[in-house]
Symmetry: C2
Subunit: 221 residues, 2 copies
């Protein structure tokens, strides 16, 4: 358990700073306890590195130093830079905004489109998404992590479609995930593929498209 | 003019192999002449490298060697790996299939969706697209080149919408490029963003979505 041995310049002391308690028993830690703080510091450093230098700049030792966490802790818990990206995406999916409930399908889809557009056009988060999309294009494990991120997000927003169906706003049998993909797809297409500007008009068109296609039964499974 | 000397270990000699003729006068070269052959060899090697190793593996000297072209030619004409990607994308846009003309808007959009799906699910071309999408996420110049590729492709297919409008199949004022983006976006979204399978049913749904939204006026400028 001698995690404090790490002779990088004065890291000897720093190893215990924010590292997991050696005496921690699984299940006994409070949420927001030391394990959570270590994870928060490491994932914040990971996100910052992705935003500024992209996936190729992700280095385990530098993340440990930036997070003020022992190197052995970072290697043991996350293993590789891909492991950091995968856990960051899990965290981002958990932290992301819950589904809107405005009372109408159009209102909820507008809120979703606005959230996607604001995220992608935010300088920091836009850079993070570019980094993980690029990483997913090069690495199978990153691709699986990104797939998991969107599965979580789409599922989180699925009740929007279920509530709309219950209100009679959607044809019976409409696939909630296909409806939600239809809102996101044109925005990500401009952002990551055609490299075009992403305006509020684009978000509105994505909603109009999804609503019209849904009404026509395009997403009936 | 000793063009047959292609001793890879003697690049001094190789400089003239497949390189542009020093005496060539601009405008006097036949299409398919030496300049075109050099470009073809270099772009084929570039595409092969992107397909197998991605953008980070693109190396000017190795491309010159693989193409059997002098290094100075490659450096002079393409400058950097990004220059190679940009010219490859120009070439891919030029070589890509012309717009369909099946007689109906649905038929033409189905042909477009099938072309996009077949390209992205082709092992080699799928890998090339993953590589250029990743490169565009990391590099501004690659992003501009990718933007140019899609601008060319979308413009090439614009007559599909114009002919449909002339036949009365689309509301007056429908933006051809928005209609075509709507067909491609869900396919690229699954391919590059959510990392999901891309089935014929997805291509058909993209067409159904675009047709329904177009009929509802979602793409009227």
């Amino acid at each position: 358990m001698n995690e404090t041995v790490a002779d990088r310049t004065a890291l000897t002391e720093q190893e215990t700073h924010l590292s997991e308690s050696p005496s921690a028993v699984p299940g006994t830690q409070r949420p927001g306890g030391r394990t959570a703080k270590v994870r928060r510091a490491v994932l914040d450093a990971t996100q910052e590195t992705l935003a500024t230098g992209g996936f190729p700049s992700l280095n385990m030792d530098q993340i440990a130093a930036a997070a003020g966490v022992g190197k052995t802790t970072v290697y043991r818990r996350w293993g590789t830079p891909v492991g950091l990206v995968a856990d960051l995406l899990t965290d981002m999916a958990e932290q992301s905004q819950p589904a809107a409930d405005t009372g109408t399908l159009a209102g909820d889809l507008r809120a979703n489109a606005a959230l996607v557009r604001e995220t992608l056009t935010d300088p920091r988060m836009g850079a993070v998404f570019r980094a993980v999309i690029a990483a997913a294009a090069c690495d199978e494990e990153c691709a699986r992590a990104l797939n998991g991120f969107y599965r979580t997000r789409l599922t989180e927003w699925a009740p929007v479609a279920e509530r709309a169906a219950a209100r009679g706003e959607l044809p019976a049998g409409t696939d909630p995930l296909e409806l939600l993909r239809a809102v996101s797809a044109p925005l990500y297409y401009r952002f990551a593929i055609t490299q075009e500007e992403l305006t509020p008009a684009d978000a509105e068109r994505a909603v109009t498209t999804a609503l019209a296609a849904a009404a026509a039964g395009a997403y009936v499974a």
